[in-house]
């Protein structure tokens, strides 16, 4: 119970830190979407490239987060942003690439060829085909990728507190340093709750954005 007391007594700081955490993650996700979704669409046209891009993203994902912060620190120090929000957002954008690219790629690949053919037969240009047929059909899977990326990013952003990015990780970091149990617990609790809430929220968005015609024929992904 004293954990809740801690949160209530420090609600200003807690709200500020939640805002910071959400800001880092949403900025990173927005950037990652801007890079990853077009990239995932481009590589559906070049099979040889697709294997390499997904492989590269896979290797990026393998690098442990704190090690990635460490590896980026000397590089980003050259432009004066070794610590703080810049390396945190950069790392999150890099990590989010794998789920976003892979899901976009598989979604566009799995659009039934008959539907694409029908679109072509109606005289759609490549761009129209993409915008009116392929993207609406694949949007649930693309959003599922974004959801995975978001939940993962929230966890990694907590570690980014150690490179001065702020966010809810600060509570855990300061709590460990001060052996302040309530502080650690409230940090851990809030990060987990944030991840769960975002997971649920994204699931809801997934359901809302899916075009109605598709929802009927395909079982909704959990």
């Amino acid at each position: 119970m004293s954990t809740f007391d801690f949160i209530i007594n420090n609600y200003r700081q807690v709200i500020y830190l939640i805002g910071e955490h959400v800001w880092i993650v949403s900025l990173a996700l927005a950037l990652a979407t801007l890079i990853g979704v077009p990239l995932g669409m481009v590589i559906t046209r070049h099979k040889a490239l697709a294997a390499r891009v997904i492989n590269a993203a896979n290797i990026l994902m393998t690098i442990p987060s704190i090690a990635l912060f460490g590896l980026m620190l000397p590089v980003l120090s050259l432009v004066g942003h070794g610590l703080g929000k810049v390396p945190a957002v950069t790392a999150l954008v890099l990590y989010s690439q794998l789920p976003i690219i892979r899901n976009t790629y598989t979604a566009i690949q799995n659009v039934p060829p008959a539907v694409v053919d029908a679109g072509k037969g109606m005289g759609m240009s490549r761009w129209e085909l993409l915008r009116e047929v392929q993207i609406p059909i694949s949007i649930p899977v693309i959003l599922a990728g974004l959801r995975t990326a978001a939940v993962m990013s929230i966890g990694i952003a907590a570690i980014a507190a150690y490179i001065g990015a702020g966010g809810l990780g600060v509570l855990i970091q300061q709590g460990i340093d001060r052996v302040h149990q309530e502080m650690i617990l409230s940090g851990a609790l809030l990060v987990s709750v944030l991840a769960l809430v975002v997971d649920g929220g994204m699931a809801l968005i997934e359901r809302l954005v899916t075009p109605r015609g598709i929802k009927i024929q395909q079982p909704r992904p959990k």
Binding site: L71, P74, V151, G155, A158, I184, L185, G187, A188
Partner: protein, 244 residues
């Protein structure tokens, strides 16, 4: 255009390796590894890191496999959905939070770090074991039953080999997450290579920082590779051919 890119790929790789070498020299990383005072410390931390990963993975593999297998047995089958739900809930909890929670309950030291790491690694292994066994074609199980196999042999000779590919994927995910999270174990006093990374960040000492970050990265990449080899060893040949 793309073809040209593939052609210059090898040249580009050589340039990157060369650049990395120059950077290692300029940041003092090479000097660091040859420093007679720093070198034994690095070896000790590496040993601690491997110990953390090894112990927790051993515990997690045994527990995860048995939880996954138990949940597919007829007697416990109705809890499979609930178990799956708990596991997927647990996976949204960030790794730093798990480490911090273990510390606040068990105090500092390697013991609580190993507990946190193994709890966190059980999740992917258990989930994939469950999913792998559930996905075994029912026809195969029926055929085995028809041949008069007892449940134990059915599990060992039909269900597990068929699910092995998915189980190894889960093991791989768990191993990589584990290696990365073991770097955070320094924060609760369990040592490991995270020591070099965090001290390097705090002191802004690039050579120390890289001496921790590069081995951790390499360890994760090597672990990934070893899991692929493990797959070659454990997945029966007939199943491998079928997948291609």
């Amino acid at each position: 255009m793309i073809r040209i890119l593939f052609k210059v790929n090898r040249f580009f790789l050589i340039m990157v390796i060369f650049g990395a070498g120059v950077a290692a020299q300029r940041t003092g990383l090479i000097d660091y590894f040859f420093d007679p005072f720093e070198y034994p410390i690095f070896i000790k931390l590496l040993g601690q890191h491997l110990y953390l990963v090894g112990c927790s993975m051993a515990i997690a593999t045994v527990t995860g496999l048995s939880v996954g297998i138990l949940l597919t047995r007829p007697r416990f089958k109705r809890y499979a959905g609930v178990g799956m739900y708990i596991v997927s809930l647990g996976q949204t909890v960030p790794s730093l939070a798990v480490i911090a929670l273990a510390m606040s309950f068990l105090g500092i030291g390697a013991r609580s770090a190993i507990l946190a790491l193994s709890l966190y690694s059980i999740l992917p292994i258990a989930r994939n074991t469950l999913a792998g066994i559930v996905a075994v074609p029912p026809a195969l199980i029926d055929a085995a039953r028809g041949m008069g196999m007892p449940p134990g042999r059915l599990l060992l000779e039909v269900e597990l080999p068929n699910a092995m590919k998915v189980i190894i994927t889960g093991f791989r995910v768990a191993l990589i997450i584990n290696i990365g999270t073991a770097a955070l174990a320094f924060l609760i006093g369990a040592g490991g290579l995270g020591d070099l990374i965090f001290s390097g960040i705090s002191l802004m000492q690039t050579d120390k920082l890289l001496a921790g970050a590069i081995p951790v990265t390499l360890m994760a990449l090597i672990g990934d590779f070893l899991c692929e080899l493990l797959g070659l060893w454990l997945i029966p040949q007939g199943l491998r051919l079928e997948k291609q």
